[in-house]
Amino acid sequence: MSTVDLEAKIPNNVGLRDNKRLLRALEKWQPAFLEWWKDMGPTDFNQNDIYLRTAVGVGKGGWAHFDYVKMPDYRWGIFLADAHEGRKIHFGDQIGSPIWNEVPGEMRNRLRRLIVTQGDTEPASVEQQRLLGHTAPSLYDLRSLFQVNVEEGRHLWAMVYLLHTFFGADGRDEAEEMLQRHSGDPDTPRILEAFNKPIETWVDFFCFTTFTDRDGKYQLAALAESSFDPLARTTQFMLTEEAYHMQTGENGVGRILHRTAELAKEGTDPRSVGAIPFDMMQRYINEWMSASMDLFGGEDSTNAAESFASGLKGRYREGDGIYKDPTALQHSYDVDVPEDGKLVKKSIPLRRAMNALLLDAYHQDCTRIASRWNRDLDRLGVDFRVKLPTQRFNRNQGLYADGYFTPEGEMVSKEEWERRRGEWLPSQEDRDYVRSCMKAVYEPGKFANWIAPPAQGVNDQPVDFEYVKFH
């Protein structure tokens, strides 16, 4: 098991104390990160005490510590999951060969691009959410927001560690640039488009953490299979923290639906009391899930094929051995492709369909979540059910980007799509209404009227615990 150095200026389990050159480079980057946090992180809450979870190790159980922390004092550390002795490459062309602890020369550019693209999303989401604290529906939720934010900051540290350690001057430059690009900046935007739009309301935040962070889970899970062991071990530990972010979203959307269902049972129009109508929630879900599906990239991708063949990115849970062919050379993937106004079934070589396979796993996961929401609605005795959009709806990337499809996946004309757009996606009126519902509730144990309290508090604390102490 690795040794955790919690006393160091940068807490870590990667032996930074013994690598002076790397330590100096990261200590030079640290003030720039803190400046970025103050300029671009959550506004106006840096002097408050937040009841936060801080990673203090990677072992089984007890990996985190809870206490009040001012966010700029959060101990952003570098933690890799423990190494598995004798680990071999388990997919792609080099199956059975030893894993790599250094970057093979021919993989350098591709790996760097993967790490930079992943790393860029981490500070981007903090920037997108920086104003949300001012309209938090409760102290419990305010704490959740800041927990997500500081951990996305730690994930940036994880990626920056890889860049500094394995990519020399190029890596250091990339690490600098991650602090210079900003979400929505017209001159220096974030790399992926979904990370350039502001998250203005808590409905957006809960949808983002449900659907967009879940894309992150699948990308990280694919990288956790990597033959480049430092990347695999880094992302394995990031997944541990990421689980809380997705749970924040899943529970948040569920709590909104629950509250609306309670009102429906009473015969109260949610609009009359500042709650979110079911059909509006459905439109937000449609928007965020379809935007998140774009992050998987094209369903037919030679880039994805090369990443798999070279052992950089595996399939979801590849290491569990659930796939019949770890080389992915013997099968093809059937997909409906729009051609001349209709859908035509085509087979693409399996390796080129790696993004599609990952998207399928994502879609199944989202289906599980929607089922959970719907069971709660069923229990509450309301008829509304969440329906997730298919993989064809509202896409700007991949095979369906040029077509027009209903949420159910039926191909329609551009005119029909434009005419019915307001049925499926949030209108400006929806956005204005949701924004009007967002008013801060900072009294312990109290919640805004549009969201139900959670079933339980954090770390065995009661729901009415003072999760944020204002000064």
Partner: protein, 113 residues
């Protein structure tokens, strides 16, 4: 994965973790490895969440497609016997979650690829 080899997932979603699924995973793995040190018959792994949160701790056994729920430490000897091929399925632990949740778990594991 060979046809004879079993893959056992222990859920480590939020609710299952609260109920102690980390310990269940460790003890199940330890008991299985004591008999099958090279994991030739069974591999015990963690899984992020199956969605059967109200029935946790949940454990799945593949390719048998058994979805064990409300698993407690005292159930582990019977589960281990079964997954090592030395005992019957533990019927008392099945049938608690909604069928659609079970189906979603098998969809992933039944990958045609």
């Amino acid at each position: 994965m060979s046809d004879e080899q079993r893959l056992v997932y222990v859920c480590e979603g939020g609710d299952c973790t609260e109920r102690g699924s980390g310990d269940i995973h460790d003890k199940l793995k330890e008991q299985a490895l004591a008999v099958d040190p090279d994991e030739e018959k069974v591999r015990v792994r963690r899984y992020p969440c199956f969605g059967g949160c109200e029935c946790g701790i949940n454990v799945t056994v593949y390719p048998d497609k058994l979805f064990y729920s409300h698993v407690k430490e005292e159930d582990l000897p019977d589960v281990v016997k079964h997954v090592l091929g030395e005992g019957p399925a533990v019927d008392r632990l099945t049938g608690a979650v909604e069928p659609d949740i079970e189906e979603m778990a098998w969809m992933m594991l039944d990958s045609p690829y």
